[in-house]
Amino acid sequence: MEKWQKVSAKLSAIILSFLVLFVNLYLYLNGKIIFELLLALLFLQSLISGLMLFTYFLYKKFQRLADNLGFIYIQGTFMHPKFEGHYKGKWFQLHFVSKETGGDWGVPMTYVKLQWKEKKTFDDKKLAAHNRKDYKHSSIIEIKHVVRDYKNYLLLKRRWFTFSPKKIEELMDLLISLSESAKKKTVRKA
């Protein structure tokens, strides 16, 4: 989005909020609506504006984190973005999620993925040694190896979102060291 488009979007949102407020006040002061209805409408507007501001605030935090790490935003929603980039010569992806089902539903999580195109195998027991444990400034839910058609990766699930580049780097360093210590063998892609 261009800078002028961002500014116009913000200004439009502010103007719309004030417009809705003034319309409600005008209707009340002219006796078109009762005080109780005005109260309900004002609260509803505050609730919706609050949720939108919260979403925007989170989006800015994600954007700043991506810029600090030098990663590129690849996809995802406002609340659950995906970034990709390189750290110490390795290909990483960050994904911020909150699942709607499962044991950890509704808990915001940070997924850190160390990815390769060529297939690799790992000792699952060594990977699982960090499951449900604290590591430096993070509470790790699970570390596992995931295989897809086009890539495979070491997935680290961290409890809660984090916007600190330092904490993300600690986790990426952990994955890099685990990728060496838990490695079985590398099968080169033909």
Binding site: L39, A40, T55, M79, G106
Partner: protein, 188 residues
């Protein structure tokens, strides 16, 4: 050109079917208002509770109780009858969980706590201002929920504390800002 012409009638048919569907729903709602006031409000409040839960899950706010379940149960218990409040709570705790295969002891606990808090607060303090019996009801639910979820059915203490606090806060806000207008509508 032929494809574009085909798409236009398809879009018109889709729009027409949507208009018919929502028109049908509107007629049902109007009939309900005329025929059965308690059922109308149970349906309306179930829709509100559903919207609150959807917003909560979309934002991943597991520890924030946004849905107006307690608030609506209090309104039904006070302005309609206790039976309607119990049916409403049963629909939104037990029946919804059964239909989504998520039923557990927690569902029964929720049903029990919501019913007890709303019914007891209205029965004992219903003659007072809505803010008083509403706050007592929501405080009762939060305290009982905290007690049961830390002793009888233990859960993550941070989640339990957050849910207890946010449940009370949002119910208080709903009572303060939506309570007066709903009181007028439901007493009409």
């Amino acid at each position: 050109m032929a494809i574009r012409n085909q798409q236009k009638p398809e879009k018109k048919n889709e729009l027409l079917s949507k208009v018919k569907k929502y028109g049908f729903y509107a007629i049902i709602v109007l009939l309900l208002i005329k025929l059965n006031k308690p059922l109308f409000f149970i349906v309306l409040f179930t829709v509100f509770a559903f919207i609150g839960k959807q917003v909560r899950s979309q934002f991943g706010l597991k520890m924030v109780v946004l849905d107006p379940l307690m608030f609506c149960a209090l309104l039904l218990a006070q302005f309609i009858d206790i039976k309607s409040a119990i049916i409403y709570v049963a629909i939104n705790t037990l029946i919804v969980d059964v239909l989504t295969n998520l039923v557990s002891i927690g569902s029964f606990l929720n049903f029990f706590l919501y019913t007890l808090s709303s019914v007891l607060s209205v029965m004992l303090f219903g003659s007072m201002d809505m803010l008083i019996y509403g706050c007592i009801g929501s405080l009762m639910y939060s305290v009982l929920y905290f007690f049961f979820r830390t002793t009888v059915l233990p859960d993550d203490p941070v989640a339990v504390t957050a849910k207890s606090i946010t449940s009370f806060v949002f119910t208080f806000l709903y009572i303060s800002f939506f309570g007066p207008i709903f009181k007028i509508i439901m007493m009409a």
